[in-house]
Symmetry: C2
Subunit: 370 residues, 2 copies
């Protein structure tokens, strides 16, 4: 499963794995793919530095990447804005709705003095820039941005550092804009993907983005959790696949809640929803009583990004901490229906590779058979 791009990055197989967990990222890279660590949950640059040091030491010299969340220069209204500025913009009625929803489900407050773990201050440009200062002191093969192309100076800095820059896109129009801004790789994120998605499904989006940014390489994201799906994505013209959901139920994943793992293992493909409940932008996630409350027309509805993320940060920590089962969720794609057992990352990668080879052999017989 090699492509021009995977060879350029020194990968054994063209699998890019997004994960918030360093142990998962390292295992993906050691298995021959490229683990991409999500930076958005890191509040403290020192904590990120420690985890990247650990990655440098535990990836056997294989490439790995970092996924940040920063607005492009053109949309940098947020530069210089602090968390307190944003907090002050949240209406009191929305804070009441959060408190009432948690109370209705019997979720206790956090213990005295314990700060919310789940912050989304990574959305703010200053935070992302501090993260990149840390990251460029490490052996970083790839930096990906979930909000389109990073600002031009960040792209230049990455290139001087020998790091390729990827940006996620949910439409061909966005992909063309990213290409124009100088990114090296576009990740085409289909409707069925976990996290932020547009309306266009992977089957249609991938070839559309491939054509839009040719000759830039494209990774397909959304709906990919088996080797057959990898073969499909590469048939659509992608030079690699970008997987996020499948790692959530690996042995190396450090989900804080066993109840959440159980929910993921039990969920079917129809148990996700594209909701603004998490960040204020449509993001696919497990459907829960929490997403239902935010998607209920009778409620106040989600605030725009980044307000919604700040509004619900402490609530999400409480929901996880106390395993409030009805409310407990996570971003995950429609492939959650195939995640039915906890397995080591290496077993997942082996299955992807073997399934890909089987699918290609079967296609070869269909094509060759007169």
């Amino acid at each position: 499963m090699r492509t021009e791009l995977s060879r350029r990055l020194g990968m054994e197989c063209a699998l890019f794995g997004f994960t918030p967990f360093p142990a998962v990222a390292a295992a993906i890279s050691r298995a021959g793919g490229l683990g991409v660590l999500g930076a958005v949950r890191y509040r403290d640059p020192g904590e990120l530095a420690r985890d990247l040091d650990w990655l440098d030491a535990h990836t056997d010299g294989r490439p790995y990447g970092l996924d940040v969340v920063m607005p492009a220069a053109s949309a940098a209204g947020a530069a210089g804005v602090t968390e307190a500025d944003v907090e002050a913009m949240i209406p009191a009625g929305h804070r009441r709705f959060v408190a009432e929803t948690l109370a209705r489900h019997g979720v206790p407050p956090l213990p005295e003095g314990e700060r919310s773990r789940w912050r989304i201050t990574g959305w703010l440009e200053d935070v992302a820039r501090t993260q990149l200062d840390v990251a460029f002191e490490h052996r970083l093969a790839l930096v990906a941005n979930a909000l389109g192309p990073p600002p031009a100076d960040v792209i230049d800095r990455a290139h001087r550092h020998g790091t390729l820059v990827a940006a996620l896109a949910g439409s061909a129009r966005h992909a063309r804009r990213h290409a124009g801004a100088g990114v090296d790789i576009v990740v085409a994120q289909g409707y069925e993907a976990g996290g932020h998605t547009g309306e266009i499904a992977t089957m249609v989006l991938t070839p559309e983005v491939v054509r839009a940014v040719d000759p830039l390489p494209v990774l397909a994201a959304g709906g990919i959790g088996s080797g057959e799906q990898v073969a499909a994505a590469l048939a659509l013209g992608a030079q690699g696949v970008w997987l996020g959901s499948v790692w959530l139920t690996t042995e190396e994943a450090a989900l804080r809640s066993r109840a959440l793992t159980a929910k993921l293992l039990a969920a079917g493909s129809g148990d996700t929803v594209r909701s603004r409940a998490l960040t204020g932008k449509p993001a696919r996630q497990l459907r829960t009583a929490w997403t239902d409350a935010w998607d209920d027309p009778a409620g106040p509805g989600p605030l725009p990004m980044p307000l919604q993320g700040l509004l619900v940060a402490e609530a999400l920590t409480r929901i996880q901490e106390y395993e409030a089962e009805a409310l407990l969720g996570t971003p995950v794609g429609q492939v959650v229906g195939t995640m039915t057992a906890v397995r080591p990352v290496r077993a997942v990668v082996d299955d992807l590779t073997r399934g890909f080879e089987r699918a290609v052999a079967r296609l070869g017989r269909m094509a060759g058979d007169p």
Copy 2:
């Protein structure tokens, strides 16, 4: 592009083409696929008989099929219900909303005495049964049902006639039900497809349905308009593909409106919407001022199937007749973005075949390359 199923049906390539136009169906079959004629628009059994006679004479002995719309026996509340019974259930306020929306866009009434062409009485079981009486007097290789498995006696009758039975499914649960009812083929219809669809994208739905009904053959539908997409669908385990949208802009298609063809050629993948405006169930179609009016929370909203279809039948005829551009639409999938030129059916089939072979060759290099 041959599979066990395509060989069983005597096809040269595993392409199933759904179309309301006999000339398109015949051209698909002559080009080596299997044209499936949509029966829902036929009010008059004599008209259907004439078109099937024509198909028998113009398909060079190649297989073709018919797509009907009938409820399964278990849900046959509609048996014996007449069009007049259903018409009487439509609220006056909804009729007013139709009249006002057409008036706002300056759509004139039909000429005196001209009956509505666009009826959906094909949804009623009695109508579908009459259509099948006609169909089984013809050389029918396949009968497909858009509303799940046909009643058991219809399946038996098809099998005695040597006709395979296919049923559309938008979820693995529905697919298992269809398999249990005795159908021979399941068509897995993904979110991105034109017409009635569920929420699960083709990339996820296809392998899920393949596993659910194994060893029954599955056709993938939704998001397929190029050979690369055919390769992707077959990589996912399908034994064939079911295409509908791409034929709408072929030379053989008899769309009544040039303005509609122009709209299809200009539309991008983001210009469709899953709306209940057409039939009362979510169906993907071009987004228009008409779908916007029905999807507007300030309006009365669509009625359930089959009321909505009867309610809007005459309005749709008027919109087409007078080419009311802002309102003019049609069921079509997200692949509409790739439909940019009017071409003969044979050219479309040739492109699909060649694109498939190119994609398989490229995958072979990715797999084989050490």
